[in-house]
């Protein structure tokens, strides 16, 4: 199994399916675990890290996940491959550019990955499209149980699962939901939303996690408190209160755009279309920004029956054979594909060799033009 086997297509959770997928891109649950009887990684020698890596790798590769699994040695991977794994949400930046022996076990359909020797000995995550946190929880709990049969986790009755950083202590669970909120941004309400979210003790990050900006109007919301609140309480809070409320706000903003500010909406969509169909150099930031407006227009058409001059033009454009995707009538998936496949590492991996930024911008523009112009 090579990374190029997966790089030419989007992963399952990003194909635009799942509950509330027009706004909720993905649901992710991550658990941090450490092995009893070993130091945390900051105090481990290279030999100890290698021991932990081997032990956990063997356990993980023997799991029955109902899918093929493969292993990537992150410390030995090329810089391009590491960037690719980050773009794909299979590993964190911290893992990609950390130190010492480390790796990642990946299910081929990419719903599951396990980072070994990141900040903790083991960080397992399950990812699904749309709002599916309960399903993620069920699956990751099962996988965690299977691993626990074969290793001893560091656990204390008082503090729960012991983690290298006390901020992850307890359940050591991180629940993250990625949202696409272009209408809140366009109507100038995004700051209000961000402040309210932070007031609730939640973390808001950009598309690629910690330290990244909200490119393309994608926002990742996650819990910060992991101690003294059970996994099921955190998940139900997200699934039944927090996320539905944000979705409602975004929908209200979309309705507001349609009823009161359709010129603003049409202007954004038309400009995005004009640039994406004609530009010869597009940076990845600009592509994310412009594609976000197309995604909004298409979703408003599909989910709200919205019809404005720009949305109608956009829909005609996609239907007239602009859809390069093999699947039929899946305009949203086409846009999602463009989002992912035009990211820098995807672009270069699929091209077959590293490219300098200008050549990347040219290739990105060419791919987008060919899809949108048919």
């Amino acid at each position: 199994m090579k990374l190029t086997d997966i790089s030419s297509d989007i992963n399952e959770w990003f194909n635009g399916s799942g509950p509330l997928a027009d706004i909720v891109i993905s649901s992710r649950i991550r658990l941090a675990r450490n092995l009893a009887g070993h130091k945390f990684l900051s105090r481990c020698s290279v030999a100890e890290k290698s021991d932990i890596l081997k032990k956990l790798r063997d356990v993980l590769m023997s799991l029955d996940l109902g899918d093929k699994i493969f292993y990537v040695s992150v410390d030995k991977a090329t810089v391009l491959n590491r960037h690719f794994l980050v773009e794909r949400h299979l590993i964190s930046r911290h893992h990609a550019f950390g130190k010492g022996p480390r790796g990642v076990v990946i299910a081929q359909r990419e719903f599951f990955t396990a980072m070994i020797n990141e900040e903790d000995h083991l960080r397992i995550q399950v990812l699904k499209g749309g709002l599916q946190l309960s399903q993620c929880a069920e699956q990751i709990n099962h996988i965690d149980d299977m691993i626990e049969q074969k290793v001893d986790y560091a656990f204390s009755p008082r503090y729960g699962y012991l983690t290298a950083c006390p901020t992850n202590l307890g359940t050591a669970i991180r629940v993250s939901v990625m949202l696409h909120l272009p209408a809140l941004k366009m109507t100038g309400q995004i700051e209000k939303f961000l402040n309210a979210t932070r007031d609730m003790g939640l973390a808001v990050r950009g598309l690629f996690g910690e330290g990244t900006e909200a490119a393309g109007d994608f926002y990742q919301i996650s819990n910060q408190v992991t101690l003294g609140i059970s996994e099921s309480d955190i998940i139900s809070q997200f699934e039944n209160v927090i996320i539905p409320e944000i979705v409602e706000y975004e929908n209200a903003a979309r309705n507001q755009l349609l009823s009161k500010e359709s010129d603003v909406l049409d202007d954004k969509i038309s400009r995005a279309m004009a640039l994406l169909r004609n530009a010869h150099l597009i940076s990845s930031q600009e592509a994310l920004f412009l594609l976000s407006h197309l995604r909004l227009g298409l979703n408003m058409h599909e989910h709200m029956g919205a019809s404005t001059p720009a949305i109608d033009t956009l829909c005609r454009l996609i239907r007239q054979g602009g859809d390069a995707d093999k699947r039929q009538g899946l305009s949203i998936a086409t846009i999602n594909r463009l989002f992912m496949l035009t990211l820098p590492a995807h672009l270069q991996l699929n091209y077959g060799k590293p490219l300098d930024p200008t050549h990347r911008d040219a290739l990105r523009a060419k791919i987008i033009r060919s899809v949108l112009n048919g």
Binding site: F40, S156, R158, L162
Partner: protein, 165 residues
């Protein structure tokens, strides 16, 4: 611009006040401002600003407690000084070794919570399992009392009694 009060000196202090949505502006000189009891520091020196900010930060002793500053973990050689630098611990035993210093930080990071509630590994011995369950129940009881849900509190109290026997 002349001072609006004495009409003599140059106005060097410009006040804008918004009361009930009505904006009013006042331009006065330093002397008149002092007379009116208005004190203005035009520029706060940066070191003064920093030291005043640092003064409100907890000291090491407040943060870690005085007793464990010199302690070194026998399992991993870790000290609190290293934790301050790296923000990660050295080994699972550190949670016991620095049992006085870490709880305030943990409490701060977790919204005031100090005990685990949730999944317990299936291999955990029965008595430890019971301990977690009791801690959870006590926490729920506290929340029920706080929200004045006495019916739930009574049920939880009975559960705790059962669990303890």
């Amino acid at each position: 611009m002349q001072c609006q009060i004495c009409n003599k000196n140059d106005a060097t202090i410009h006040l804008t006040e918004i009361t009930d949505g009505v904006r009013s502006e006042m331009h006065i000189c330093e002397d008149c401002a002092a007379e009116q009891g208005i004190t203005v520091k035009s520029q706060i020196p940066i070191n003064e600003l920093l030291s005043s900010l640092l003064a409100v930060q907890p000291t090491d002793d407040e943060l870690f407690g005085p007793s464990e500053k010199e302690v070194t973990c026998p399992h991993c050689g870790f000290t609190l000084e290293q934790f301050r630098k790296e923000a990660v611990l050295g080994c699972p035993y550190d949670y016991e070794i620095f049992e006085k210093s870490l709880p305030p930080l943990i409490e701060k990071a977790h919204n005031g919570k100090t005990t685990h509630c949730g999944k317990v590994p299936s291999k955990t011995p029965k008595d430890a399992r019971k301990k977690v369950e009791l801690l959870n129940l006590r926490q729920q009881l506290e929340a029920a009392v706080q929200s004045e849900d006495y019916e739930l509190a009574a049920k939880l109290r009975d559960k705790i009694k059962n669990c303890e026997t």
